[in-house]
Structure formats: C-alpha cells, structure tokens
C-alpha cells in the first residue's frame, strides 16, 4: 500500500520533469508541441549510448543527456519551431506529429526497434523495507534517487522562477507576451532559452526513466498522452499545477494498474475527461484568458 504510494510518487515526479518543458512551451507561446516526447526519447538514447558504447558512468550520463537534448531543442527552435508560433493550432499539431513520425522512424532505423535496457549502478539497486504487513513501505533505491533529483529540480526551478531576473521575465512573458515585449523584455531570447531548457529537462527525464518507463522507438507516442494530460489538467500558468497533476496522475496510474490491471489506462483517461469537463482551463489555472 505505502509502497505503491511511494512508487506512484516517484512515477509522478518523473512525469513532472518530463512534462514541465511542454507546460512552459504551451503557456509561453500557446504552442501545442506533440513532439515533446521525442526529446525525452533522445535523452534516453543518449544515456543508453554513452553507457553502453562509451562506458560512461551513470551519473555522468545524466547531465550529458540534458545537455545534448537542450542543444538539440535550441537548434530546432531556431530553425523550425520559431516559424510555427503564429500559426493555427491545427498547423502546430500537424507539424509536431510530423516531427514525431520522423523521430520515431529515424531512431528505429538507427537503433533498432527493440526495447533497450541499461545496467543501473550497484548502489542504485536493492531497496529499503520499513514497517510490517499491510503497512510495509518498500522504497527502491533507484526510485528514491529519482524523487530526490526531481524534488531538487522542482525546488531549484521554483527558486529561479520566483527569485531571479530571468524568472520574472519569463513569468511576465507567459502572462502576456505582447505587453512583455513592449516593456523591452527580449521575449524571443527568453523563449529560446526556455525551450532549450524544457527540452533538456525532457531529455533528463527520459534518461532517468529508461529503467522505469522502458525505452523503445515508439516512446514519443506511448507517453504523449501522459505529457498532454499533465499540461491540460495542471494548467500552464504555474509550476505547482503541473507538479500536482503529475503526482495525481502517477499515483492514480500505479494504483489503477496494480488493483485493476485489466482496466489499464481507463481510469486515468476517464478522470482526465471528467476534470477537463469540470475545469476546461485546467485544475490550477488562474481565471483563464487564453
């Protein structure tokens, strides 16, 4: 019971890191980016390649996965995404589905279609056990590691967003890009940085998730729905909204799959539809002018 709860929290934190970049992209530029999962996949494959082919240690691979996907995100933002901002949502959806198709087929070609696995280091295997019987709490070391990393990231991001000049510029740009631009905030550059950072986070999440979510070329499509649920339910105007939404989603998913495995994702989808009908702007949005 408690073990499930803990696993759910770890899963939710992972989803949060994976989806945060998407939430910011949607909030900032009102851009529906279905290709977000492709960045996560890229991060996962960077980790796998570095660990298996180059023999890097696990901890060194995580920042590398972040860096590579961030650079990739920046490049794509400059060359392709930038042209899509003003376009209708249908165009954005088509464009990002196209990108995802390309990423999936490309990775399939380069890496093969089978699921890849990694060897997590010795100190991340095994688990702690506390309590007894119904209240046993078993915490896998790897999941503890994920929770620690993700909490640190969330706290760090919150500090950056609320405490620094860049953070206040970003928040201003999210609230109203036109007025922010009028006040001399370089919205373009803020967005480039944010996009790169969000892609990097997705890459990091993908790398962390290889062991839990699994990794194969169909990853972007398999998890696209989850990212979108986090953003749609959590709203895109703050960092706490997606965080709570991701936690709820993670816990609901783990519990659902444990207690009623046949229903699978059913509970999650019904829950999402119900929430969206009740609050079309997301659970935690303020007002909702867009």
């Amino acid at each position: 019971m408690l073990t499930l709860l803990f696993d759910g929290i770890a899963y939710g934190m992972l989803l949060f890191v994976l989806s945060l970049g998407l939430a910011v992209t949607m909030g900032l530029m009102n851009f529906i980016n279905l290709a977000h999962g492709a960045f996560a996949m890229a991060g996962g494959y960077v980790l796998v390649l570095l660990m298996q082919r180059a023999g890097w240690p696990f901890l060194a691979c995580l920042p590398a996965a972040f860096a590579v996907t961030a650079v990739l995100g920046a490049l794509l933002e400059r060359t392709l995404y930038r042209r899509m901002y003003g376009k209708p949502h249908l165009d954005q959806v088509l464009f990002s589905i196209g990108l995802t198709f390309m990423a999936v087929a490309g990775v399939d070609y380069a890496m093969g279609s089978q699921q890849v696995n990694i060897q997590t280091p010795e100190w991340l295997r095994g688990r702690f056990e506390f309590g007894s019987e119904a209240w046993t709490l078993g915490m896998g070391h790897y999941r503890i590691f994920i929770v620690v990393v993700c909490v640190a990231l969330a706290l760090g991001l919150q500090a950056v967003l609320s405490g620094t000049r860049f953070g206040s510029r970003l928040r201003a740009a999210v609230d109203d890009p036109r007025v922010a631009a009028g006040l001399g905030i370089p919205v373009d550059r803020v967005f480039l940085l944010t996009f790169a950072f969000g892609s990097g986070l997705a890459g990091l999440g993908g790398a962390l998730g290889v062991d839990i979510l699994g990794l194969d070329p169909s990853f972007p499509f398999k998890f696209m729905v989850y990212f979108l649920i986090v953003c749609a339910v959590g709203g895109t105007s703050s960092i706490t909204g997606p965080l709570l939404a991701a936690l709820v989603l993670g816990i609901a998913d783990v519990f659902g799959k444990y207690y009623v495995p046949k229903l699978g994702g059913f509970i999650v989808y019904v829950l999402m539809i119900a929430i969206l009908l009740w609050r079309p702007q997301g659970l935690f949005s303020r007002g909702g002018s867009k």
């Binding site: 949502h89 589905i97 196209g98 990108l99 490309g106 729905v225 979108l228 019904v270 969206l276 702007q281």
Partner: protein
Amino acid sequence: MSAQDVSATLLAPTRWRAWEFALWAVLWAMPFAVPQHAALINEIAILALFAVSLDIVLGYAGIVSLGHAAFFGAGAYGAALFAKHVMPDPLVGLAVGTALGAVLGALTSPMIVRGTDLTRLMVTMGVALVLLELANKFDDITGGADGLQGVVTGPLLGMFEFDLAARTASFYSLAVLFVVFVLLRRVVHSPFGMSLQALRDNRLRLASLGMSVNARLAVAYTLGAALAGAAGALLSQTTGFASLDVLEFHRSADVMLALVIGGAGWLWGGLAGAIAFKVMHDVLSAFTPQYWTFWIGLFLVVLVLVGRERLLRPWTWFGRGARR
C-alpha cells in the same frame, strides 16, 4: 442587380461543375478498368469517407479532433457484431454502424463545445483511448487483441456476394461514398453549412448574430461522427474483420493527414487526400517498408512550413507569390 441575379450569384458555387461529373465518372470507372486493384480502391473509398467525415468536423466546423477514430471504431465493431449475432445484411449493418457513430457523437458533443483547442484535443483523444481500453477489456465481446473474427456479411441487396477479389466491396464502398458526397454537398451549401463556416471563422460574431453556436457545433460533430461510423462499418463488412487497430491513435492521425493533404474545408479535399495518402503509402512502403513514416513525417513538416493552402495552388510556388 435584380433579385434574380443575386440568387444566381449566391447559388453559383452550389452547382455541379463539369469537372466534378468527369471525376466521378473516372472514379466509377476505376473498378472496371483495374479490377486487380479492387481491394485498394475499396480501401481508398473507405478512407475517403472517413476523411470527408472529419472534414465536416475539422474543415467546416473548425473543431481540432485527434480522436476521430473513436467513431470509426464504434461503427466497425457495431457493424461486425451486428452481422455476427443479429443478421448479416450489409445495408442494415451499415445503418447500425452509422447510428452507433451518431449516438456516440451526440453523447460526446457536449464535451467539445467547451474550452480551448488544447482541451478539445485532449477530450477527443481521451474518448478514443477510453473506447480502446474498453474494447481491450471486454475481449469476450470484441475479441480483444486477437480481433473479432468470423464476421460473415451477406450478399449485397441479396444478389451480389462479397468476393475475395473485393470487386463487390469496391462498388459498395464507392456507392456509399457517392451517396454521402451528394448529400453532404447539399448540406454544406445549405444555410446550416454556411453558418458552420462562419462559425469556424468567427465564433463570437455568430453568437452575437443570435445563432446558437453550441447547438450547431454539436450537430456538425454528430454528423461527422455518424459518417465516421459508416466508414468503420464499411471496413469491417468488406474485410470481415474488426480489431483494436480501428481505434488506435494512428487511425486518427492518418485520417487527419489524408484530409490535410487534400485540403480541409472543401468536400473534394477528403477524396483527393485519401487517394494521395494511399498511393503515397503504397509507393513509400514498397520502397522502404519499415521506415515509410519518416517520409510521411518529413512531408508533413515541409507542408506546414510552406503553408497548407499553397499545396493546391502550384502557381504560388514560384515568383512573387512564393516570397510572400
């Protein structure tokens, strides 16, 4: 300008053009001309019907839907189960599939009139996913991952047996597509169709003119859903098979892709797109069977970057139009 001239000008776009008659003649001649490709023609006609149904929702009413496969799947399973357990007559089965799509569309239409594009996207996709999960769970009814087998469709009109070469199937699907096309042509040029297009372009203004925006959206959505159900019914009847594949996400994505290639917002778009998509699919997968989605993806990206509306206007590719 006299009243007669005015009505003539207004009615001009509704009239059938010579090229439309010619194209339909060509389409009808196809199963005669290349009977060895009857199965492909059948598939194209079904995809075209599906794309036209999405056109009503997306191109005319402006609802971005990523879950149109929900209705396709409902129609497919509905018709297959009806043929298996109640009666094998194809036309009655088609009506059942259509009705099922319509009911599902009517039930879910209150969900799509609220919220932003993102919300609609999520809700439509969510409905399709919920149906997929349900079809997977109730595998004693639907056959689950193995698919529903043993669907036998009776002879069409009691005379024409469905054969392996799919000749009957191709005529059947073409006929349904033709009837739907003729009916929809009336609908989209009717005041109702006009109001849909106006609503797509400016919802606020339509509301201030005193039209019930939500009711019209709901009707359009239900109509689209019913036709998607018909397309699904055609598929399961002509292949004698229904599987979870009819509800998968890639169905919704493929049909949107087909519609976009042909151009959303006019009825021929669905037909042209279905033909182009299937031919492209066939050529690409003959050339690179495993990785054809890469080229489809590339095509999509380039298409959107260049501008969807310019694909059908080659004269704007070069010269002054291109630099705009």
